[in-house]
Symmetry: C2
Subunit: 201 residues, 2 copies
């Protein structure tokens, strides 16, 4: 059996990656990698679903023993991707999706060069602003800050293997599914099929 | 508008590429490149549909003026892929499929390195033999010859960008469609989208 595919998905806040991924994850062979964090659970958050909640000592031990594929310190807390769960799922043939910002993705590129990197663009910055404003949860100032961050993230899209635009949700879901299907057929992941056919005479 | 994709499809006789392609070609944005030949039309064959029929002088002129993307001499006749029709369709944004054997595909790789190369494998040599025998149009000797040719062609699959197995027709059609969708999203073909989003503020 072939190993699963490690799929790294990035895109600015408001690009719609959450909505796209929720559809992709209906496929039972695709798993979502749950991040670890040292921050306290918020009301309603469930350990192992929203995050793997752990104390700082546990998190630092994982870092020191190579147990984190990537991690970052943000607003007084650590966030990271535990290696063990990802590798176990990949070994069992399941695909794993990491939804992660650009810096984390670039670290994954070093630790897991065989991963597939997909960047989701909004159709335009205007449309991104409209989507952020529609949420009505953030101040104008925060939206401006998010847009500035978005511009920086979008510039990093060139480091990804695939660049897609979320203009139409159905199309975007089809495109992400197509990437997952096609990537498994690439020569580097399919060379074994040649011998299988020739030896299965 | 982006240029269309040049899609080169190879696979041994009996791998089912004709059936797969007939489904793919229902998409009106995908064109099939009709070969040119110097052989005489057989009964029922239509110029421009089955082949572009031309005389030897016309064919040689095309070769000499760089008008053939690839050509071969086979059973006393020339066969080739006229460059003009392919390039016109690509320029108009249509994808073009070339169904072609390995040697021709390798020539296309030199003249059109931006093309996408897809190899279709049969599930096994046994299954390939079964499919060839089912046609009941060829002698046992011819089938053995085709199988020997198939082994040689299959070994060349490693030079292709994608390697797929036609075990289940529906799955194979989905896979070929997925490759076409995903290939257009690859970084090298999508870098322009980043500027489009950033400049479309």
């Amino acid at each position: 059996m072939n190993k699963g595919l490690l799929i790294v998905v990035s895109g600015p806040s408001g690009c719609g990656k959450g909505t796209i991924l929720s559809q992709i994850l209906k496929n039972e062979n695709i798993y979502y990698s749950v991040s670890a964090t040292t921050r306290a659970p918020r009301e309603g958050e469930v350990n192992g679903i929203n995050y793997h909640f752990m104390d700082k000592q546990e998190f630092m031990e994982l870092i020191e023993t190579g147990g984190m594929l990537e991690y970052a310190f943000y607003c007084d807390n650590y966030y990271g991707t535990p290696r063990k769960q990802v590798e176990e799922m990949l070994e069992s043939g399941k695909d794993v999706i990491l939804e992660i910002e650009v810096k984390g993705a670039m670290k994954i590129k070093e630790t897991c060069p065989e991963a597939v990197f997909i960047f989701i663009l909004p159709p335009s910055l205007n449309e991104l602003r409209r989507r952020l404003e529609k949420r009505r949860t953030e101040s104008e100032e925060k939206i401006e800050k998010r847009l500035a961050e978005a511009v920086n993230e979008i510039k990093a899209a060139k480091y990804y293997d695939y660049i897609m635009v979320n203009e139409d949700l159905t199309k975007a879901i089809d495109e992400l599914n197509a990437i997952i299907v096609a990537e498994k057929l690439t020569q580097k992941r399919s060379l074994n099929k040649i011998d299988e056919v020739l030896n299965n005479a």
